[in-house]
Amino acid sequence: MFYRKMITLVPLFAMLIGSMAMGHTIANKGQRADLVLMPKFLGILVFDQANKGAKEAHSELKNPGKLLFLGPTPENSVAGQIEILTTATTQGQDGIMISNNAGDQIVPAARKARAKGMTVVTWDSPIPSSDGEQLFIAQVDFNETGTVMADMALRIIGPSGGEFAVLSASPDASNQNAWNAAMKEALKAPKYSKIKLVDLVFGDDQSEKSYNQALALLDKHPNLKLIMAPTTVGIAAAAKAMQDEGLCDKVKVSGLGLPAEMVSYTMNGCAPEFALWSFVDLGYLSYYATYLLATKQIEGIAGETFKAGRLGYYTIEKDPTRDKGLRVMMGPFTVYNKDNVEASAK
């Protein structure tokens, strides 16, 4: 009996020692840190969702300090972000989370904030030179997008196979191109052998053009079973086109979309599933990382691991997309379907 107990305890001890050695930090709650969450600009749904996640983490960590959600107007985004960061430094805030829209122009203000001892973390969009920033919370690995889209196509088209087409944003969008290339690469695997990519068209992220392009695809490819749109504008426009034409039983729509915009199409079967990273989780994770940095529970160096509440463990790593700079990769995608889309749309 004693022996068996020992056996169960050994891995527990090993884990404990292991985690101490590797510096697995579990947040010490209730410490004070006044934090600011700054989106690119106000009035965008995904940023409000990130704020929701940050608020959730704020109350979970019982931070007696304040969490502010401050952003500029779209017309004044760059100057406004710099102004908010400078004012936050003057106010003596303990940390700020920036979805950077000012490129490297925010660097001097970020450096001044750092010099005053403020924690500077970026999320969603980093400081290109990583100068003045301690950590970037990245949403997903762009390569993963290809596999996610291929898997959704396979599930929707079914094992018997069929044709599908991609409705992308514009030929110049580097992220779109990377995602489409990654999907083509993923499709080479034998399990996708029966689904066939027959066309790639561009809707320029304009609703009307995307709508027309979706209809044009049907004329060109009468056997089309699915339109895959890796853009939130394209997917909504394509779904509306199929719904308006009463074709949802024949041609399905999928891709990257916002739950709030897609909920009705998912519930009526036009777009049975689609994917996006969760901005709620991105805000939640950013808050955890910033809280831990601002309360000096982690230092923000490569190799450090910390626990971000319900999301589990994350490790700080070198950012392969920038020369200097550290990142925490959130991942993975959330795939939305009938079961979870309504809850996320709120």
Partner: protein, 325 residues
């Protein structure tokens, strides 16, 4: 004349009243408002705009407008980035940028004085033109190539806690006051604004005055663009986008008539202080975004409304008095 003077006095009095209340509310709301750091910061964050506002006073007094100032700021900043990026020595690049400013301003002046085109149209075209050129130069990149001494000039204090850009602003402010109040050129500026034809027939070289003003506007906008680039340390095609609206707002709120001929630099200083303090106070109270824009917009509407209301009441009373007599 004495009526105009009285009106001006009362307008400035009104602005002083607003300013004092803004300062009072701000200092009660936040202990950091009066700190030297914050005072320097709030000027530094808008220093390029208030530098350009100084020359805008002259242009609007002259019954003209220059909408291309912010685009010129962007163009000179982007040209600086592009020149340095392609290997031009820093000092030469700075000189070339000021030259671009002078040429751009003179180009505006040429169409306005020689072809008698409305400045609204000419400078609107250049608002688009200069901005387009800036975007062509740097495309969608963010260029960060400046030597550290240049960035330090834009970001570090050089006299006590005061950075170079604020010293330049103060210097230009003194110069503007002297020119406007104590020189013949300053009087021409007012005179042309009141009645261009009378000025012309009085033997004033109207075209020359306007040419000088628009060229100066180009040079000062280019200088502001350079200071902007130094402060941010990097340039992008959208630098200073729509700053012209903030600049014109400050000048009009300061009591300079959009029809020219009346207004003073004192009023504009008061309005600059009101706009900057109001914005800073709202930021310190964590009011950002559209509410901030809305409050400042409301202030501008008031600035147009109140003098008109005053005039209406004045006229109404005069009429009553006449009827009674």
């Amino acid at each position: 004349m004495s009526i105009i003077l009285n009106k001006l006095k009362s307008w400035e009095g009104f602005l002083s009243l607003i300013l004092i209340s803004v300062i009072l509310v701000n200092s009660l709301n936040s202990e950091s408002f009066l700190s030297i750091d914050n005072q320097i910061n709030l000027f530094e964050l808008s220093v390029e705009k208030i530098i350009v506002a100084l020359i805008m006073v002259f242009i609007i007094l002259n019954a003209e407008i220059d909408l291309s100032v912010a685009s010129m700021m962007g163009l000179s900043a982007c040209a600086l980035g592009w020149l340095v990026d392609s290997g031009t020595p820093m000092i030469l690049a700075l000189g070339l940028c000021l030259l671009i400013g002078a040429m751009g301003g003179a180009f505006n002046g040429y169409w306005i004085t020689v072809f008698k085109l409305p400045s609204l149209v000419v400078t609107l075209a250049m608002l688009i033109g200069f901005r387009g050129l800036a975007r062509v130069l740097v495309e969608d990149r963010s260029i960060r190539v400046f030597p550290s001494w240049f960035e330090a000039l834009g970001q570090q204090p050089i006299l006590g806690p005061i950075p170079l850009s604020i010293i330049i602003f103060l210097g230009l402010l003194i110069l503007a006051v002297i020119i406007l109040k104590f020189t013949g050129f300053g009087r021409y500026v007012y005179f042309i604004g009141i009645n261009q034809n009378v000025a012309l027939y009085s033997g004033i070289n109207v075209s020359r005055v306007k040419m000088i003003l628009f060229t100066a506007s180009g040079i000062i906008s280019a200088l502001a663009g350079i200071l902007f680039a130094a402060r941010l340390g990097a340039v992008r095609g959208d630098m200073g986008l729509s700053f012209e609206l903030d600049i014109i707002t400050m000048v009009l709120l300061g009591g300079v008539s959009i029809f020219g001929g009346s207004g003073s630099i004192n009023g504009v200083i008061l309005s600059i202080l009101i706009v900057l303090y109001l914005r800073n106070g709202m930021s310190l109270s964590n009011i950002t975004g559209h509410i901030q824009t809305g409050v400042i917009g409301g202030l501008l509407i008031l600035s147009v409304l109140i003098p008109n209301l005053q005039k209406m009441i004045h006229d109404f009373l005069n009429q009553r008095r006449k009827q009674l007599q």
